[in-house]
Amino acid sequence: MEITIIQLFNGLSMGSILLLIALGLAVTFGLMNVINMAHGELIMIGAYATYITQNLFNDYLPASLFNWYFVLSIPVSFMVAFLIGWLLEVSLIRFLYGRPLDSLLATWGIALMLQQLARTIFGAPNVAVKSPTWLDGGFRLMDGVVLPYKRLFIILLVIVTLVAMFLYIYRSHAGRRMRAVMQNRDMAACLGISTRRVDSMTFAIGSGVAGIAGCALTLMGPIGPSLGTYYIVDAFMVVVLGGVGKLVGTIVGAVGIGVTGTMFEYWTNASLGKVLVFLCIVAFLQWKPKGLVAMKTRSLD
């Protein structure tokens, strides 16, 4: 009984982490059709931004305030990744619209450089981020079932991020312009929308969300130059499984992979579980090549 609850919660938690890392990708890949292989490195940038915030708090502020560095590091990570994403868009990505496979290769080159840059600045070894004490420990649901606060916090963070993105995309003027450009670029341009600005804004937001993911991941895992490589393929799987272009699909995809993944891992072992999950995704795509929630379109090519 306890183990069922724990495993359900673990699945949900893993789903929320996957969702967080895939959300940014759902924007850049799903809405803009740019295959950003440097997405993992944007996550890494978010993680390092958190590390720097922590160090600044350590060095310049009284110890009593240290616990609150994490609250500040979330917007900081977002902003840093946002800016770098914006720079990338302006300098490179804008040449790659309409060439998705080329964008994959070019951004992979960027990923290589960002990794090496991180290695040059922060050194090759991992760095440590001390999690705030208010996230230590867990919520005791019943005897033998402890839900760690950090995992609960990440679930909460995902929900907040999702709501914010939903509001931005569907309830704001900027979001309306963004949807207009993604649906019909020429028509939007004719109606006076600056598509260039919308493009860079959209890409930057996608990158910023990756930064938030990086910040959250400092609670759970390693922070090092190759951090991004651990998550990038998983993130793509989530987006592809969920279906491109719809946030709902991404949510279902992430939670689906999270729950089935933990189940398989529990029944078999970690290696085999991973293989089974990927096999399931491949098999599923045979059945629904466009993912869970597909955009309906009449266009052919």
């Binding site: 183990i3 724990i6 495993q7 673990n10 938690s13 893993m14 982490i17 090496q116 290695r119 050194g123 090759a124 070894p125 991992n126 760095v127 440590a128 981020v129 001390k130 999690s131 230590d136 420990g137 867990g138 033998g144 402890v146 760690p148 606060y149 950090k150 995992r151 609670l219 759970m220 895992g221 390693p222 922070i223 090092g224 130059p225 190759s226 490589t229 651990y230 998550y231 933990t262 891992e265 529990y266 072992n269 970690a270 290696s271 579980g273 991973k274």
Partner: protein
């Protein structure tokens, strides 16, 4: 269409000749006596002792400076460079200065093989210090045996190997894992959970541990492997909670340790509940994992930064002076540093850098290393080392809980242990 083809071919020929010219040029510039291609005949290994011409001796350093393994290997490279500088400052070896030739293994095993070949046959280095993962060593081994080169491998490993062209300055299983298991059985409990990354070292190590548990009255309650780079340990921790072990023997590698320890603490399991003993977590790794999640857990090594010897005091001071106050020393770093000194001592004794002579001279060589006196075992080219079990303190350093008292004789095939007879049928 046809014009295109002509252009293609013209381009092909131009480019090919450029490549060939480039390769050729490289050939003539590197090392004066270019290894003559006319050196036909079969696999005659004419003692490639390396270039000792002039007042310099070239030595190779081959670690991953990029890729996933750079995390660990860069520090070892630093220690080896430091040893070379110290030796040079003291007049060099045989009155000649050492010139390091640094190559990047790029965390890619074929690259290690390629670069090893380059160091021996192109740069004609006298010896190579390098490698970290078993895979990189296994990749380099045939190259060193074929070209009769000399490799100093500085990391603890799974044993069951003894190449005539490799000196192993890290611990083999009976200098780390076997005594650690015995100590745990005596002091911390008998119910073991074996956790490792899914690759050769953990699987081999766990095979040995299982035999030992059988023989010494331990109980195995679980054994799990996770893929390299695995970052979600929630399910595994649930399995651990169900199995209720008293000891977790942790052979996870690199980044996985960070995720595992962070999530273990979140699940409310502290060092008081379950003892975790790691064999791949040293001072370097503690910095990346965070002391707060590691405090109280154990590790088994042959050296800690806190090891109390006069040699260690200077070693740590010099290392920090050279690379920064925030750097720490650790077992593989010390083993890399030792390797350079051991080789230098062997060369001085042999009076030449010739590989066979150096190997002969190295037999029984003693040196006061930062981690205590070490001796080269002439039979298997491993090192006598003192085994130490340490506990992580709040400052990120280890406090030694136990040591073997005297250096332990290396036994890579565990021939002196009765229970291990079934492990390896052939040498």
């Amino acid at each position: 269409m046809k014009r295109k083809i002509v252009k293609n071919l013209a381009f092909l020929t131009v480019a090919l000749s450029v490549v060939l010219a480039g390769c050729g040029a490289n050939n003539t510039t590197s090392g004066d006596p270019a290894p003559a291609p006319s050196n036909t005949g079969t696999n005659t290994t004419t003692g490639s002792g390396g270039a000792t011409d002039g007042d310099e001796i070239k030595v190779g350093i081959l670690h991953s400076l990029s890729g996933t393994m750079a995390i660990s290997e860069v520090s070892v490279k630093d220690a080896e460079m430091m040893a070379i500088e110290e030796i040079n400052a003291n007049g060099g070896v045989l009155g000649k200065q050492l010139v390091p030739v640094v190559e990047d293994g790029a965390s890619d095993w074929p690259t290690f093989a390629e670069k090893a070949r380059k160091l021996i046959s192109e740069d004609q280095v006298a010896t190579v210090f390098g490698g970290w993962t078993s895979s990189s060593r296994k990749a380099m081994l045939p190259v060193f045996e074929e070209l009769n080169g000399l490799l100093w491998y500085p990391v603890q490993y799974e044993g069951l190997e003894s190449s005539p062209n490799i000196f192993y300055t890290g611990a083999t299983t009976n200098q780390q894992i076997v005594p650690a298991v015995s100590w745990l059985l005596e002091n911390r409990g008998t119910k073991f959970f074996l956790l490792g990354s899914d690759y050769v070292f953990p699987q081999t190590a766990n095979k040995i541990i299982k035999e030992q548990l059988n023989a010494e009255g331990g109980e195995l309650v679980g054994e799990e492997y996770t893929p390299l780079g695995h970052t979600d340990y929630s399910t595994l921790i649930a399995k651990i909670q169900q199995a209720k072990p008293e000891v977790i023997f942790n052979t996870l590698n690199g980044d996985s340790n960070v995720a595992f320890f962070k999530q273990l603490k979140d699940a409310g399991i502290s060092a008081d509940d379950i003892t975790v003993l790691s064999v791949s977590v040293a001072e370097e790794e503690i910095r990346g994992i965070g002391v707060d999640v590691l405090e109280g857990h154990l590790a088994a090594w042959n050296y800690y930064q806190t090891t109390d010897t006069p040699e260690n005091k200077t070693f740590v001071e010099n290392y920090k002076a050279a690379y920064g106050d925030d750097r720490v020393t650790a077992d593989p770093i010390e083993a890399g540093y030792d390797a350079v000194y051991l080789w230098a001592a062997a060369v001085e004794k042999a009076g030449t850098t010739d590989v066979d002579a150096v190997k002969e001279a190295a037999k029984g060589l003693e040196w006061d290393a930062p981690g205590g006196k070490i001796t080269i075992d002439g039979d298997n080219q491993h090192i006598y080392k003192t085994v130490r079990i340490g506990e992580v303190q709040s400052d990120g350093q280890f406090q030694e809980l136990w040591n073997s008292g005297e250096p332990v004789k290396p036994d890579p095939y565990l021939e002196t242990y009765e229970w291990a007879s079934s492990l390896s049928s052939s040498k």
